[in-house]
């Protein structure tokens, strides 16, 4: 019988598989996606938020534990578990040598992301390069890797894992039979439910306008995170944590693909101009804070607008000052023409911009600081970087909410155990998006998802190996499991 069965094929699953294999256990990894799509959302990631007390290879200055914790506390508004959060933070300070040993390369912060050069270590080539390195390492170590292997059911005996079930399925032109795979222990790391349209619909419901907002969401993450296993664990009575509407959600280009839009679909010019909804009205302070600190709230803001649509409007002064978008903007030499091209009501749109322009109190424009360019007497205000939109051609990008990953997940503890009625399972563990909600109840800060996935993936792997009889030094000290 297999010692450790890992369900999932992204960063957390791979970390668990590698750690369990290193502890001496025999390991099988079941990736639901075909090989070409392997890696879950990890293929779209680019960095790891790392605690460090002094400069470290690609990381500049210091990012101490307390500052990291305060940052997390702020973005989650307290919806976090301090013990588990600190476990993740400490693990992030010393997991990189292990990552390197498995072939991951780091590089200095990318151009256009210099604001995180202190806090985040970037993967050379991004998350797919990391995923490739881990798969190569897993193959070399003798982990049995299977693709097109989506688990649809978990067989339990009380709170004890017995076997995983795969339904009969069509994959890459082949009919694959149903299977029952037994193992001594199991790690669940199969991602959230962001690509399950029905579940999103159920979670977001119908709004006061009679719309089903989630029908207009685009998914930046993997098309394979349909939450089948998450749903099944709910039905099996596992303890859950989190709100199903909470997710990493940003405003992305409305023309992005329905799934797997990834990083390039973002629109980074919001703070340089104004954002209007389909009625041509502004609805939020575009200059509230630096864009990297605000981009993650705009998905929900747009989700609250009629038709879940909005338009980021800039003029010539902003060109070249933000990351180039993947799709061309709509350009016009007059506001009226722009409104007509966007099919926005012309008069309200023009009057919104004129009111904004008239309210701008331009001081010294400085996009690198919370500058003194702001509006006066305008609701909602624009509190920084407010410059009148007067220099044609004007340019507009259509926005929609883009979901990267959901936060609803299994409640867990420092041993990454799945819990039933408050009792830890002896041999079933969880990692990655399926439990990220324990640490990240809402909000987001760059690189935290990979930090949680790496820390808990490694803990789950060690604990699963230990539960199968492969005790290592670190498995006896769960708090230091990833240290």
């Amino acid at each position: 019988m297999i010692d450790v069965l890992v369900i999932g094929g992204g960063n957390a699953a791979l970390c668990a598989a590698l750690m369990a294999r290193e502890a001496g256990a025999s390991v099988m990894l079941l990736e639901g996606a075909p090989k070409a799509w392997r890696g879950g959302n990890s293929q779209h990631t680019r960095n790891l938020r790392c605690m460090h007390d002094a400069p470290q290879d690609v990381l500049v200055e210091a990012y101490p534990e307390e500052e990291y914790w305060q940052d997390l506390l702020k973005v989650t508004g307290g919806m976090t578990n301090e013990k588990l959060a600190r476990l993740v933070i400490r693990a992030s300070s010393n997991c990189r040598d292990w990552m390197r040993a498995h072939g991951v390369h780091f590089q200095p912060s990318l151009s256009g992301a210099l604001h995180v050069a202190r806090t985040n270590a970037f993967f050379m080539g991004g998350g797919k390069a990391l995923v490739n390195a881990y798969y190569r390492s897993a193959e070399r170590l003798g982990v049995n890797i299977r693709y097109n292997a989506q688990v649809t059911d978990i067989e339990l005996n009380g709170g004890t894992f017995v076997a995983a079930h795969l339904s009969a399925r069509d994959a890459e032109g082949q009919r694959l039979p149903a299977e029952r795979i037994q193992a001594r222990t199991c790690v669940l790391a199969a991602g959230g439910f962001e690509s399950n349209r029905e579940w999103l619909r159920e979670a977001w419901g119908q709004n006061e306008r009679g719309e089903w907002p989630s029908d207009n969401f685009l998914i930046r993450g993997t098309r394979f995170n349909t939450g089948v296993l998450l749903r099944r664990m709910q039905q099996l009575g596992a303890d859950f944590i989190g709100d199903p509407t909470q997710a990493h959600m940003v405003a992305i280009d409305a023309r992005a693909p329905l799934y797997d839009g990834g990083i390039c679909t973002r629109i980074d010019c919001v703070s340089l101009g104004v954002v209007v909804n389909r009625d041509g009205e502004r609805f939020y302070d575009e200059g509230e804070d630096f864009w990297p600190k605000r981009y993650a709230i705009w998905g929900r803001l747009v989700a609250g607008q009629p038709g879940q649509q909005a338009y980021s409007i800039i003029d010539q002064q902003a060109i070249g000052r933000f990351m180039p978008p993947v799709f061309p903007g709509t350009k016009a030499n007059s506001l009226e023409d722009l409104a007509r091209q966007l099919k926005l009501p012309v008069a309200p749109f023009v009057s919104t911009i004129q009111a904004y322009n008239a309210a701008c109190r331009v001081g010294t424009f400085d996009h690198t600081a919370l500058d003194d360019c702001r509006t006066e007497g305008l609701t909602p205000a624009k509190t920084h970087w407010a410059r009148p939109l007067v220099k044609p051609p004007f340019c507009a990008y259509p926005l929609k909410p883009g979901v990267t990953f959901t936060y609803l997940g299994l409640a867990t503890d420092a041993t990454a155990a799945v819990r039933f009625n408050g009792q830890a399972s002896p041999n079933l563990f969880v990692a990655g998006e399926m439990m990220a909600g324990n640490v990240l109840g809402k909000g987001y800060t760059a690189g935290i998802g990979m930090a949680i996935g790496t820390a808990f993936g490694r803990i789950a792997g060690v604990q699963a190996a230990a539960a199968a009889g492969f005790i290592t030094r670190s498995s006896q000290e769960p708090q230091h499991a990833a240290v």
């Binding site: 050379m124 991004g126 390069a129 990083i263 390039c264 070249g320 993947v326 690198t368």
Partner: protein
């Protein structure tokens, strides 16, 4: 093809062809992603631009070493609907640039069926020297005392023939690369900047910096694993070629300056250089061909394989025939081996400006431009705020 620009009378806007448009499309996706910035020079050069003109596209295409790293790391590679494959898109444009900048321009069409071009040139070279040998000696199996091949073809005849062909090749390549250089939006740089840029670019060429993967583990060949063997076999080929070239150079100096005539003994400088270089020029091309046969089908442009393999094979044969000539120069085979070697060398020289050989020249120029460009302030300040 060019379009009239109504905003700037007198200026024509070049219209992108299909291959160039594809690079433009892909670079727009890449510029919004930038995950691959650490791999090579293409992506940092890309981030200095918001739009990609034809000149930029030609420049980026020649900067690309077709290492494959960005393809295997790409979240937008097929089956993703964006179908990003930068090495392939760049390879297609690169071939277009060799053809377009070739001098005389009409000869650029030789790139369209380059495997055939090389085969025909080799056939012509071989026929020429076999016939000449027959004309001179009446047979193909002549031994000469001490392996004195000048007994078959006098030194001055060979020097004139090969000098003229080589001179033409150098001229054609120089004109081609000059046109390329002028077209790729030149930048103003100070003398100090140009000097340090030239040093850096030379080092990048000499070490094949951009086949190291950005992390030193090498580039991709068959799959997402890294290998340093493409770089090593290229080094064998390049330095082997340079040593053979040096052997010819030293021999020419011996002849004209010191009055020492070939054939030289095995332990002389020209022959030793030739032996070592010839060995490199056997191992390198053989290794490159071996890798090429195992190359991931998604890397580069499948249709260019005849050009690549033809060039590799020609280099291998030049070297093999040269070493065979050395080994058997005192036997009856001298006449035949000499004709074969000279015929292949002639084919190589004739096709230099119209074969894969040009890639080294255009890539070096692109690397120099990159080294100059990166010393200038970045005109785009995207999101470094």
């Amino acid at each position: 093809m060019q379009l009239f620009d109504p905003k700037a009378p007198g200026t024509l806007i070049p219209v992108l062809n299909l291959d160039e448009s594809e690079v433009q499309r892909q670079m727009t996706v890449c510029n919004a992603c930038r995950y691959c910035e650490g791999f090579c020079a293409v992506f940092p050069a890309m981030t200095r631009r918001l739009e990609f003109s034809q000149a930029d596209i030609h420049y980026l295409a020649n900067l690309c070493h077709n290492c494959g790293a960005c393809l295997h790391a790409c979240q937008y590679a097929a089956p993703h609907e964006f179908a990003i494959n930068v090495p392939k898109a760049m390879a297609k444009v690169r071939l277009d640039t060799y053809a377009e900048y070739a001098w005389p321009q009409a000869m650029g069409t030789l790139y369209r069926r380059n495997g055939l071009t090389l085969a025909l040139a080799s056939g012509a070279g071989l026929s020429l020297f076999l016939c000449l040998t027959l004309m001179m000696m009446g047979n193909l199996f002549t031994a000469m005392p001490g392996g004195n091949f000048y007994g078959i073809f006098p030194h001055n005849t060979l020097a004139l023939m090969f000098g003229a062909v080589f001179g033409f090749a150098v001229l054609a390549l120089a004109i081609g690369v000059r046109r390329f250089w002028r077209n790729v939006s030149p930048v103003e740089a100070s003398r100090e900047q140009t000097t340090s840029a030239a040093l850096e670019a030379s080092a990048n060429v000499a070490t094949l910096k951009y086949l190291d993967g950005g992390h030193g583990e090498g580039c991709n060949n068959a799959d997402d694993r890294f290998t340093l063997w493409r770089r090593r076999f290229h080094h064998f080929t390049f330095y082997g070629f340079m040593l053979c070239f040096a052997a010819t150079g030293v021999a020419t100096l011996y002849h004209f300056l010191l009055g020492w005539s070939a054939p030289y003994p095995v332990l002389s400088v020209p022959v030793m250089l030739g032996i070592v270089g010839g060995f490199g020029l056997l191992v390198g091309p053989a290794g490159l061909l071996w890798l090429n046969l195992r190359r991931n089908a998604e890397h580069g442009d499948e249709q260019q394989k005849p050009m690549d393999r033809g060039f590799i094979a020609l280099l291998f044969l030049v070297s093999a025939s040269g070493l065979a000539l050395l080994a058997f120069r005192e036997s009856m085979a001298l006449g035949l081996l000499l004709a074969i070697h000279l015929g292949l060398v002639m084919a190589f020289f004739l096709t230099m400006p119209y074969s894969k050989f040009a890639h080294g020249i255009f890539r070096s120029a692109a690397l120099l431009k990159y080294s100059i460009e990166k010393r200038q302030p970045n005109p785009i300040n995207a999101a470094s705020d």
